[in-house]
């Protein structure tokens, strides 16, 4: 790291010269985030393998899903992530808009959960449950675990919203917590970006 700063040619190539390359959140958080992402990678692999072994069953099941609802949910999560990016910047600068921006992110998260509930209900009404076949089992289990992550994220964002309402500047510990919450929320977004095409679209 110090070598990077000392070498002028490398520094010149950097778009944003950052004297402090810093860890987003804290070091330990990444043990959890990357670990979680690794487990989800196994889930992704399981879907692809199932697809390869029983293509007809998977494709028939995919036709029962509602890709437009999945698309809407991708929009909710991406927009929620943008709100969190803006909120993080606002709360770091101590500007007043942070609470509203966290509110926007929470609204996106609730929107996602609501759409998911509608989707689950409609699938179950059509007779597609986790018991129907392996694809639907994977669908309900993997999206369910993802939804669980999202709900934990909503709790974290609510904490951040309450904190953002106070006028006091952040303590160093709270600064770290703000970053941790943001990174966790972005991970929920990131995991869905792979789950959505794998479950709904890859035939």
């Amino acid at each position: 790291m110090s070598a990077t700063v000392a070498d002028p040619s490398i520094q010149a190539n950097d778009k944003i010269p950052s004297p402090e390359r810093r860890i987003p959140g804290e070091e330990g958080l990444w043990v959890f985030l990357l670990g979680d992402m690794a487990i989800f990678a196994l889930f992704f692999g399981a879907i692809v393998v199932l697809h390869g072994q029983h293509p007809a069953m998977v494709i028939a099941s995919q036709h029962a899903l509602h890709p437009l609802l999945g698309l809407l949910n991708t929009g909710f999560l991406l927009t929620g992530s943008l709100f969190v990016v803006l909120a993080t910047r606002a709360i770091r600068n101590g500007s007043s808009g942070a609470a509203g921006l966290y509110g926007g992110a929470i609204a996106c998260g609730i929107g996602f959960a609501a759409v998911k509930a509608v989707e689950y209900a409609s699938l179950i009404r059509d007779g597609h449950t986790a018991q129907s076949n392996d694809f639907f089992m994977y669908y309900f289990v993997f999206t369910g675990i993802h939804l669980g992550h999202l709900l934990i994220g909503l709790v974290l964002l609510t904490f951040l919203l309450t904190r953002a309402r106070k006028a006091k500047p952040l303590t160093p510990g709270q600064r770290v917590f703000v970053d941790c919450g943001a990174c966790y929320w972005h991970m929920v977004d990131l995991l869905w970006l792979a789950l959505f095409p794998l479950l709904y679209l890859v035939r």
Binding site: E26, A46, M137
Partner: protein, 241 residues
């Protein structure tokens, strides 16, 4: 608490991993017996590997015993980090106790299953299911243990914490890894079956490394904890409570 006792308790956790996997290997169950096998195949396996499975039962039973000092040390750490009013400590201790049962009980059932392998095949299969399903599926004790410890580590406000903060996050991740196995009852093949990628290989790897990593961290922490002055007033409050 003397440093040697801490190190002994921590080592029990590390030793447990060797005893547990030693037992599984003794029965020839890496990979585990597939849940998709029919009663005749299961019974034939028990008939030809009876002594290996009996050895596994004995080893895993003692393995469960080895987790007692380990769980006690973990709970004591939680109480130290949490302070006088310590619900997390209680959660951790109860979960640790339940964890002992979770390992002990399948070992007993395996012992019974391998005791008379010449019985009707369906009965052996039923006993085999009765052992393997809880053995792999029972995540909640370990999840409660890991989460309560993780929360305690991240909430530790002391000037010289005995554990690095990543260990707290690591515990959350471990808890997450035990989730997929909770639905193995729905599957006889595939990644969620009790011999599958997510239910067995992931859970077993994470479970094994968890005890080793935690054991090593406890041994490292022993020095820090021993040099801490024991806060007598807190102790008094705890007794009073």
């Amino acid at each position: 608490m003397s440093r040697m006792i801490q190190i002994a308790c921590a080592s029990c956790g590390i030793l447990f991993v060797f005893v547990l996997f030693g037992g599984i290997i003794a029965a020839g169950w890496i990979p585990p017996i597939p849940p998709s096998e029919n009663a005749t195949e299961v019974a034939r396996y028990y008939a030809t590997h009876a002594n290996g499975i009996r050895t596994m039962a004995v080893l895993v039973m003692f393995g469960a015993g080895l987790t007692i000092p380990f769980a006690a040390l973990m709970a004591t750490h939680v109480r130290r980090m949490e302070g006088p009013f310590a619900p997390l400590f209680a959660v951790n201790l109860i979960a640790g106790g339940a964890g002992v049962v979770a390992i002990f009980m399948p070992a007993m059932l395996l012992g019974a299953a391998a005791y008379r392998p010449e019985r009707m095949p369906e009965l052996t299969q039923a006993l085999n299911d009765l052992a393997w399903v809880p053995f792999i599926m029972n995540g909640p004790p370990a999840i409660a243990q890991a989460v309560s410890f993780g929360v305690a580590v991240l909430g530790d406000k002391s000037d010289r914490p005995a554990f690095p903060r990543w260990l707290g996050f690591y515990n959350f991740w471990v808890a997450f890894c035990f989730l997929p196995a909770c639905i193995l009852v729905y599957f006889k093949t595939g990644p969620f079956a009790w011999n599958g990628l997510l239910s067995f290989w992931l859970a077993a790897t994470v479970f094994g490394t968890y005890f080793v990593i935690m054991g090593v961290m406890f041994i490292k922490a022993a020095r820090v904890v021993e040099s801490d002055p024991v806060p007598d007033p807190r102790h008094g409050e705890l007794v009073a409570a």
